[in-house]
């Protein structure tokens, strides 16, 4: 597999009250065509900033390093060129579907926009939109196409957001905590849909999440981030069965699971850090 997305030595600085704050300290990661990669970490690890930096969404971020997507260097691309990448070649799904949708436009209008902007006729765009919404499990998609976002439940709204993100058939979908706001059963449905859609279309997915449970069932490969840099990456089976980095081990051991013996005490990162003082973690704030 060839790398669709290559990120090398990515650094990000944001202006702060006491001068610039370095939020990403050298991120390296690859996503191959059709591959599902999970970027996991706790709050402040830089996982979302990495996702947003790939699409240059934060205008106050000072970015350094290299981001190459399908042969194009995104950091030197013009703003106009970036607009063609966003939405068409790279789709985006965020955590909060309500914030991502325009409340005064019908969901159908919003779903077809990425096609209409690129010159697809309204009728054809509508046909494809309804078909996709139906594929995403929205019943009676033809009738619901002209409804407004507030007429949909949270889970259905997230399906609309996914439809908008994938209708122009992007080679890569970046999904930032796409199911964090959803109930567990809806979360399972949405993840299954994302996985099936990715496999049917050969679409690569970069999933950003804090949830090690959903990563296990979704990703081919995992990148574990902490303090603005990856501490470990590898195939999902290797990371879960044989984590090499103490932080990855501690993270996995801190997650309760329903198939575990509940008398086994959860470990915490603080305990793991205390045991590994001999191995200083760069920039640790603790």
């Amino acid at each position: 597999m060839t790398a669709l997305l290559t990120v090398e030595g990515l650094r990000a600085r944001f202006p702060g009250p006491d001068g610039p704050v370095e939020v990403l300290r050298g991120v390296d990661l690859d996503v191959s065509a059709g591959e599902k990669v999970a970027l996991v970490g706790e709050s402040g690890s830089g996982k979302s900033v990495t996702a947003r930096a790939i699409l240059r969404l934060d205008h106050d971020a000072g970015l350094e390093g290299r981001i190459s997507f399908d042969g194009t260097d995104l950091l030197s691309l013009s703003e106009r060129g970036m607009r063609d990448v966003r939405g068409a070649r790279v789709g985006l799904v965020f955590q909060d579907p309500l914030a991502a949708l325009n409340p005064v436009m019908t969901v159908g209008w919003q779903i077809t926009q990425p096609l209409v902007i690129r010159g697809v006729g309204r009728k054809e765009a509508r046909r494809r939109g309804i078909e996709l919404l139906g594929r995403l499990g929205v019943r009676d998609a033809g009738r619901r196409f002209d409804d407004y976002p507030h007429q949909f439940s949270g889970g259905m709204r997230q399906r609309v957001v996914i439809a908008i993100a994938v209708i122009a058939e992007p080679a890569l979908l970046i999904a930032d905590e796409p199911t964090t706001a959803l109930d567990v059963r809806v979360q399972a449905q949405v993840l299954t849909l994302l996985r099936e859609l990715a496999d049917e279309r050969g679409m690569a997915v970069l999933l950003i999440t804090h949830d090690l449970g959903i990563v296990a069932g979704f990703a081919d490969r995992v990148v574990v981030m902490r303090h603005g840099e990856p501490v470990e990456q590898g195939a999902v089976d290797d990371i879960y069965a044989r984590p090499r980095h103490p932080y990855t081990r501690a993270l996995l051991a801190s997650v309760p699971r329903i198939d575990d013996d509940p008398s086994r005490r959860l470990s915490t990162i603080a305990e793991a850090d205390a045991e590994t003082v001999a191995e200083p973690v760069e920039g640790s704030a603790r």
């Binding site: 706790e42 709050s43 949270g154 109930d183 567990v184 059963r185 979360q187 399972a188 299954t192 804090h210 949830d211 090690l212 449970g213 959903i214 990563v215 296990a216 069932g217 999902v236 089976d237 879960y240 501690a250 993270l251 996995l252 801190s254 997650v255 309760p256 699971r257 329903i258 198939d259 575990d260 509940p262 005490r265 959860l266 470990s267 915490t268 990162i269 603080a270």
Partner: protein, 262 residues
């Protein structure tokens, strides 16, 4: 003698039933999990139990005392024995007070420790119980992390020596590593203090880790209640089964086997 008994609790908002005839009991020293999806009514049950919301009908007994029929005066005493910790450790702590003052506040309100020096010592001891230090007593909430704030909120609730603690989604806004610390803290407290806890959460893995018994709420109705082992290994109600099937397990091999079966 049960620590807490909830009988036939009913509550609607604007004609829409939110809690439909919910009954359960909490034994002394027991941790009972109350699980359900958003809109299941679990937070409303909690708020009715502590009388932050008036139920339409039903009874709540703390030991042998009727919480819903209590006069204002009696309610003060009840509130001491029945403490609640909320989800958001940011909005439930006054930003103007130090951690020590926040912990002392309940003791003052209930006249528990009249001597200021002794009260301060007790506040420090409580902060230490939840894994903070004496030096932390002088700091304000904003200088703590989310997990530390949640521990201050717990210390504050424990300060008045409650018999029953109601916890509403207390770990759901925390990172996993901090969540593990707070869950372990609850385990230790329960062992050391013999506290009875009603633990409300949407995360079934967290409930599995902490709770002896589990009650499952679906659209305001209690569909199943039982021991942890029974609920997780032999769920009787289809709704409980569908919830458990959807809980992700952090193990790729297990997840692949589950997808293959689905």
């Amino acid at each position: 003698m049960t620590a807490l008994r909830v009988q036939n609790l009913v509550k609607s908002f604007g004609g829409r039933p939110v809690v439909k005839d919910v009954s359960f009991e909490l034994a002394p020293g027991e941790v009972l999990g109350l699980v359900g999806e958003s809109g299941s009514g679990k937070s409303t049950v909690a708020r009715c139990v502590v009388r932050l919301t008036r139920p339409d009908s039903g009874r709540v007994l703390l030991g042998d005392r009727d919480v819903l029929a209590a006069s204002r005066r009696e309610l003060r005493g009840l509130r001491r024995d029945l403490q609640m910790v909320f989800q958001d450790p940011y909005s439930s702590l006054s930003p103007r007070m130090t951690a020590g003052a926040l912990v002392e506040e309940g003791m003052i309100a209930h006249g528990l420790e009249k001597d200021p020096a002794a009260r301060r010592d007790r506040a420090v001891a409580l902060l230490e119980t939840v894994g903070l230090s004496a030096a932390d007593a002088g700091r304000h909430p904003r200088s703590f992390s989310g997990g530390q704030r949640q521990r201050i909120a717990i210390a504050r609730a424990l300060a008045v020596e409650p018999k029953v603690l109601i916890c509403d989604e207390v770990v759901s806004s925390l990172d996993v590593s901090v969540q593990a610390q707070v869950l372990n803290l609850f385990r230790d407290l329960r062992e050391r203090l013999g506290l009875s806890i009603l633990f409300i959460a949407h995360d079934l893995a967290v409930v599995h880790y902490l709770c002896d018994r589990v009650a499952v709420l679906d659209q305001g109705s209690l569909v199943e209640i039982g021991d942890r082992e029974q609920i997780y290994r032999q769920p009787r109600h289809p709704y409980t089964r569908s919830l458990l099937d959807a809980v992700p397990i952090p193990d790729p091999a297990v997840e692949r086997a589950r997808h293959a079966r689905a």
